[in-house]
Symmetry: C2
Subunit: 464 residues, 2 copies
């Protein structure tokens, strides 16, 4: 961490913030927008990467965005559109003149068009489909027939293939003569006469081999075709696990229908991580920093309302012990300590388990061992915390029995928290649900209820 | 979500679990290990990818792992070692016969060796460095002089370059004649006579262009050299943001010293996400599902102890209101509801902010707007929750004033939670700290204290 900070500071010292959008650039563009200075906008925008322009449009306010689009709509191209967050993509598309929109989408590969339109509403989808050439439109419509979040949606249909019996020389001559090649490709896929992929060769191998060598001689060892129906999460996992750069996609008959490249897989991985962080925190759907107030409320309120009800369970548990609290009112102040520390322990165990499920490191092969480890480490944590809290509670309250009650309740709740934190996502996962979603609420409800129950229960038995 | 589940189920139906290690394979290997069946192990291991073998070794228990290594140490190669989790890497390296270790590390590219040894202790580092050829050892030792987590550690030193004035034909002839090329390369980097990179060409372009074309004609538009001192997080960001596949790395004089490829960047991104999830949940360092019990305790106890003290602040606040609670003991049962719902709201706002900081979507350009949005959406959430809780509290307690106290406290705490959730990481980030680390404790302490204070404060004023 220290080294990392040192690096960061060194960079800041050099004024070297090459990556990411410079906030000063954003300020300058906003100033130009507010001055209505179209030339200034053009000049400032020109050196920016489409991804940075998209970020800029997300970071400025809606008013500035509308003015910017009015002054600079001709600058928007397909690459910028695909980089835009969904939250404002519709707004931008609506603001574009039809000919700008047509030009923008015609430049894109089929997978980018699919990505662009899959979450738009019908009229906007129609607008974009109408702008495509016939061949592209058919390709996009075909992709849209695959389920959401499937490999079929993610793939590009443009592939570079060669018959398996070609030589390196034939392949190079073919590539040199090809009229249109995809923007990015890293392999030539070998296909048999029925278009079943049988292997692939990297361009590096192709370039470094003799012209007379056959493609079959230089194919890669590992070759993993992906099915169009595979879940995009599985695709991203495969790319990450096996260090793939591109992978052929086959239909149900094993025929080559497209190719997925690593940048798409990386985007999926990134989205998945975002989902995990947000779901663990109880934020639904695809939340973005550019969301408006109402969208923010809509994404968060369901979880808050749910928590209102689960918190009522704790309230009910406590209310059963009103007699105990009435007898020793100091208990009311102490009881949240056990519940709150349990909540933290449960969240820790939960985060590790959710992450391990996402990376396929927690499976039925080791689930039993992991649960046992959580149980013992929960007990150990509980003992350490119980010692501190028992002594502290005794000193503060002047009553060693109160210290004892705190200590016992802490041990029980730490064990429940650590074990619950791993069991809840395991069970959700086994039932086919996203283990990150809802598990936070389950676990904190569990630790709250157990925390209050154990503390007030022991208090009733020991102190009264 | 539904579509995704449908895809998952369809796959399960087809028995198609191509990716990730099959738990049945793990079981079969464990059985072979326990039977001492070396041939059986060999047969089961043979088709597995090194990444899957590493996962397998992480998933089985320590006893089985030791027996497996005794029976199958010759199967361990460099690729498996680099895939292994740090938690067990040292254990495996210690168990390998010296000649197996030598063979394993000699096969690796320099970046993989660096990755392998940077976290090992001195004697193990020496063992591995001694196994390398002189040239490789110098390269690795040079890389280790760069700061941890810097681009210099991440890059491989093997590069494929060409003078900027070459033609396509010259480059292809050179590649075809080259004795040793890196395992993976996607670009030829053009360098000037002093080895300053001036551009790069993709292999796809190289293959599809006329032999007489100059390399300069076919260079890519976007070209972003990375400095050896750049933070690896910034490198991963650049790859993700600009869809890079590989990028040249330059030293302080702008000379080419290496290249970083997307698989390394993807691994960093993945690690960073892991850190975010775990730090948000209060788990320190590099926790892994294969950690032992004591390591698990060590990584979690600091946070739990810290929480013990912050929870004591809440206890102190409550204790100031013992008179109020003594007068109306039902308050003790109701007070956690406001605090707990505030904790959820704070965590939601926090997760969105931490994620947006990580993706550079939250900057000084929009921080003000985001804080204002959190404030208003917090107030709106507060009003909705206040209505539900106010009515519910009135019905349950039979006292509309108790409903009013709950409602007012809820609104105050929701505003504090939403605003605090975004302010805390922003401030930590501004101060140069990791915004995910510790912010969870800050925010929940804030919402707990405010929740109890607002509730008991309003109760004292309104009810007594």
């Amino acid at each position: 961490m220290n080294d990392r900070r040192a690096v960061r500071e060194a960079e800041a010292g050099e004024g070297d913030e090459d990556f990411a959008l410079d906030p000063r650039t954003v300020e300058a563009i906003v100033a130009a927008v507010e001055a209505g200075d179209a030339d200034g906008i053009e000049r400032l925008m020109e050196p920016l990467h489409p991804a940075d322009i998209a970020d800029l449009m997300e970071q400025i306010g809606q008013g500035d965005r509308t003015r910017l689009l009015a002054l600079w709509s001709r600058g928007i191209d397909g690459d910028i559109l695909t980089e835009l967050d969904e939250a404002i993509r519709e707004e931008v598309i609506d603001a574009l003149p039809p000919d700008v929109l047509s030009d923008a989408v015609r430049d894109l590969d089929s997978d980018d068009v699919v990505d662009l339109i899959e979450d738009l509403d019908e009229p906007q989808q129609e607008k974009i489909l109408a702008a495509l050439t016939d061949a592209d439109r058919v390709a996009v419509e075909q992709s849209l027939t695959y389920p959401e979040k499937s490999a079929g949606r993610l793939m590009q249909r443009e592939t570079v293939t060669a018959p398996e019996d070609w030589t390196v020389g034939q392949a190079i001559d073919y590539l040199r003569g090809a009229k249109e090649l995809p923007d990015q490709f890293y392999h030539v896929i070998l296909v048999d006469p029925r278009r079943h992929p049988v292997g692939y060769v990297t361009l590096g191998k192709l370039l470094s081999s003799r012209r007379a060598a056959t493609l079959r001689e230089i194919t890669e060892d590992s070759f993993r075709p992906i099915s169009v129906l595979d879940d995009e999460d599985d695709v991203a996992y495969a790319f990450n696990q096996y260090h793939l750069i591109s992978a052929p996609v086959v239909d149900e008959d094993g025929r080559l229908v497209g190719v997925i490249t690593i940048d798409d897989a990386m985007a999926v991985l990134d989205e998945e991580h975002e989902e995990d962080v947000l779901h663990l925190a109880g934020v639904g759907g695809e939340s973005a920093i550019s969301d408006g107030t109402l969208e923010t409320v809509r994404l968060r309120i369901p979880w808050l309302v749910a928590n209102l009800f689960t918190a009522s369970i704790s309230a009910f548990v406590i209310s059963r012990f009103e007699g105990t609290i009435e007898a020793i009112v100091a208990l009311a102040a102490l009881m949240p300590i056990v519940a709150s520390t349990g909540g933290i322990a449960g969240t820790q165990s939960l985060a590790v388990a959710v992450r391990a499920l996402a990376t396929r490191d927690l499976t039925s092969a080791n689930a039993g061992r992991v649960v046992r480890r959580e149980l013992t480490s929960g007990a150990l944590n509980g003992v350490v915390l119980a010692l501190i809290l028992g002594v502290g509670g005794t000193l503060v309250s002047g009553n060693p029995l109160i210290g004892l009650v705190l200590a016992l309740a802490m041990i029980v709740n730490q064990v429940v928290a650590a074990t619950g934190g791993v069991m809840v996502p395991l069970i959700l996962n086994r039932m086919g649900f996203d283990p990150a979603l809802a598990s936070g609420t389950f676990v904190t409800t569990l630790t709250d209820v157990m925390g209050y129950l154990a503390f007030l229960g022991f208090a009733t038995v020991i102190l009264l």
